[in-house]
């Protein structure tokens, strides 16, 4: 495995999301180097990037890029006028945007531990997306508004993990300001190493927890 791959993964996960980037890496490395390459990728980057570790482990167990499932979350959007999304996961966001009509306004929290090129992210997602800042996202709150966060590890039945951005928006004050707080699990395979970059959150924090794969 070449040096500098860590930086490539960081860039990819900053703009695509950790799960989307992990599946892409596993798929491309497998295509050029086979499962041996995927195992080496896991050895090289797995400890630092737990979602990649989980995806590589799943890949070596026979899992392949799963289709995105939206049927769980879509019913919760009925009656909503505003949806605030926390986190970036390009595969799931793209699919969601295809399924949601123009009557639902979509805001994305512009906050990340990494440094994505937000202008490029905006160009990819289209003009219907509004970026919201941590200081002002509550202006979107209301009885017809919901928060949606990508979550990881719901599969394991134990801990549930979300990004640090979610921890910053899901305080006790915020929880009462939105009609629903939806967790959308995008990993579908269990996490097995310490979930660096992610934060354990209680399942009951979400009003709905749905599978994305």
């Amino acid at each position: 495995m070449r040096d500098g791959l860590d930086q490539a993964f960081k860039l990819a996960s900053a703009e695509l999301g950790m799960a989307s980037a992990s599946w892409l890496f596993a798929q491309e490395i497998d295509a050029s180097e086979g499962e041996v390459g995927v195992a080496r990728l896991r050895d090289a980057l797995g400890r630092r990037w737990p979602v990649l570790d989980a995806v590589c482990a799943g890949w070596l167990d026979g899992a392949r890029l799963p289709p995105v499932r939206t049927e769980g979350v879509l019913p919760h959007f009925r009656g909503l006028t505003r949806l605030v999304i926390v986190g970036l996961e390009s595969r799931w966001l793209d699919r969601l945007l295809d399924c949601i009509g123009p009557e639902l306004q979509i805001g994305i929290l512009r906050h990340s531990e990494f440094t994505p090129d937000w202008e490029r992210v905006q160009s990819n997602l289209g003009e219907r997306i509004t970026f919201l800042e941590l200081s002002s996202f509550q202006s979107w709150a209301g009885s017809r508004s919901a928060l949606l966060s990508f979550v990881y590890g719901a599969e394991s039945g134990k801990s549930l993990f979300a990004t640090s951005s979610w921890v910053r928006v899901s305080g006790p004050d915020t929880r009462t300001q939105f009609r629903d707080l939806i967790g959308w699990d995008v990993l579908g395979v269990p996490l097995s190493v310490y979930p660096r970059w992610l934060v354990a959150v209680p399942r009951e924090q979400f009003t709905h927890l749905e599978a994305g794969v």
Binding site: D3, G4, L24, F25, I29, D94, R120, L125
Partner: protein
Amino acid sequence: MSAVQLAFAGLLVSVILLQAILPAYRLLIVLAGAALSCGASAYLGLSSVGQLFREVPWEVLVILVALGLYAQNLADSRLFGLASVRITRAVKARPTGLLLLFALGTYFVSGVVNNLTALLVILPVLLSVFALVGVTRRFATWTLGVMLVACNLGGAATPIGDFPAVLLLGSGVMTFGQYVVAAAPPTFFALICLLLLVIVLVRPARDVRVTPANQRLTLAILSQIYRGVRVRWTLLGPGLLALALMLAGWLLVPASWGFTPELVCWIGAGVALLARPRHAEQLLRTKVDVEASLFLLAFFLMVGAVRGTGFFAQAAGAITQLPVSPGLQVMAFLVLAALLTGLFSAGPSMAALLEVAEALARDQPAEPIFVGLALSVCAGSSLFLTAATSGPLTQALVERAKLDDVQGNRIQFGFVNFLPVGLVSFCLILSVNLVRTWWVLSKA
């Protein structure tokens, strides 16, 4: 020289030096210097303040503002960013291919838009590719350095690419067509020589390990992070139409019609902007380069005050009295211009040196002197990272990207890193310039 002449010239040089030493206060320094020059000139009865303002080449400022807005509008169309992605795909992320095509791409883009805009649209893609491919510090430094020089060369290739050439166009000493015919071939030749020298002798890509898996992964990620980015034809279409109109205006419209270069530029930028009025209004309110305009206005006022003392005429006279042939006098002027630009940066140097060039051109063929001056300023701009505004911008973009090399060390692009590229480029561009000028002068 009289004491008054030396005092005004000394003030100009001090301001140029001080703004170079304290770039964080450069606008404050040059505006204060301009006020001091105007005040002293009026007090001593050399020129009134009104007279100094009347002598400011406003048409140059009109061109700069209009072209700046036009370039921003074109950049917002996303054309250049997507073209950079295409380049990466075309060379399959191979390092030497990246160096070659990004340098050529930068040259052509900066011939149409100003250098800062060219770098702002191209560099983010290249830095992302560096992060994905995994490059060495040496490769990154040489590639970024060559791109900066390509940017300067592209800017000098056309009269709309960079300030020195805009000044020539705006001041009316050369037409658009004359300048392109004279300046584009030597700048392109210098770029090809530089690329050959770097690729064949320096070989910065020799330590970058690229495997088919690397290439595949890089291209796959790049495709994903640009998956939904599309050209905004509502901006690009009118932008290209406006460019065609401007080129036609500069090249084909007879001077007797009164459509001066700045008017053509003003109308052209207007055509490009009017297609999207809301976007245009936003650009006009937020993207007019007030800093550059005030900076140059202040220098024009200071240069006007120095001119009022007769200093430039005497400086030109001193050059023409050198005990060498007229051709060698021009050569000496061009070398001096390149060195002064390296030290003081392009804008101030060109504003001051054009006065001397105009005086020299009274007795000798004008074209080789003016084009030679533009190329000397280009060489000087390429000497140090601080000699052109695009240098600090590149440095800032690289720092912001927090790019690591393959060993995990942070990649820096500062004054010292750029110096080898700068020295090589300076010598090369200046040599091409001197040979070309000598050849043209000997034919005349």
